[in-house]
Subunit: 111 residues, 2 copies
DNA sequence: TTAATATATGAGCACATACGTATATAGTTG
DNA sequence: CAACTATATACGTATGTGCTCATATATTAA
């Protein structure tokens, strides 16, 4: 017996797809990874990631609207931080799964 | 103190992004969801999802090459099944997170 | 007010990818 | 062998999205 799957409406499917899509771009993952250390300003993230200011700003907005990041404006600066704690677990799950795959591949080559 | 993030090489970031991208399309999520019930043939998945045979086949191959699905050929038919068990947890995490968000939205409208 | 700084946004280009139609391949049956 | 079935693939098209460059907005300081 498999697990009993929840019924999923087309709208729910769409929402889930959008959530995964938000996490499917390298620059956005870099930003999320940088924010694992804590709240940071746009400028700090621009310097840390090496991206252009425009691009970083757009990706941060994308993640913010997706509910993944929180936005706090203070004076001239805007600070972003992780808003959805499940992001940690999601990344851990995927990293773990990919590491296992890599290990298996390595074992194949090692004989 | 935040959690100590693992260092992530650009290649690792790319891999993670690809994994999330594989899960970012509604038709692929439909297929994965259908396979939560167990192994199924391409034709069964075509009928269940209502997609065209070509499109379903392409998405199945995509998921298979990503290591998410397993492929088993038997006579004329090809059977696909979930190969990476973390997929269950990934979907549960995202569903839970989105449900919580929806509840909060609902609470706002309910006053 | 003007100048300076931090962030956001508009326009256009380049590229990726999802889709349908048609066809190819592989395996089975007669 | 030919006919049939299940799956995969080639091709063209349409759409989405990431990126850069330039500019706009907002906030602070002089």
């Amino acid at each position: 017996m498999g697990k009993a799957p929840r019924p999923l409406s087309p709208e729910a499917i769409e929402q889930i797809a959008r959530r995964f899509a938000a996490l499917s771009e390298p620059m956005r993952l870099k930003l999320i990874h940088a924010l694992f250390e804590g709240e940071k300003s746009v400028n700090a993230l621009v310097e840390e990631t090496g991206g252009t200011q425009a691009n970083v700003s757009r990706h941060l907005q994308h993640l913010s609207q997706a509910g993944i990041l929180a936005r706090r404006k203070q004076g001239l600066q805007v600070f972003y931080s992780i808003a959805d704690p499940t992001i940690y677990d999601l990344c851990e799950l995927v990293c773990g799964s990919l590491e296992k795959r890599a290990d298996q591949q390595a074992a194949v080559f090692a004989g």
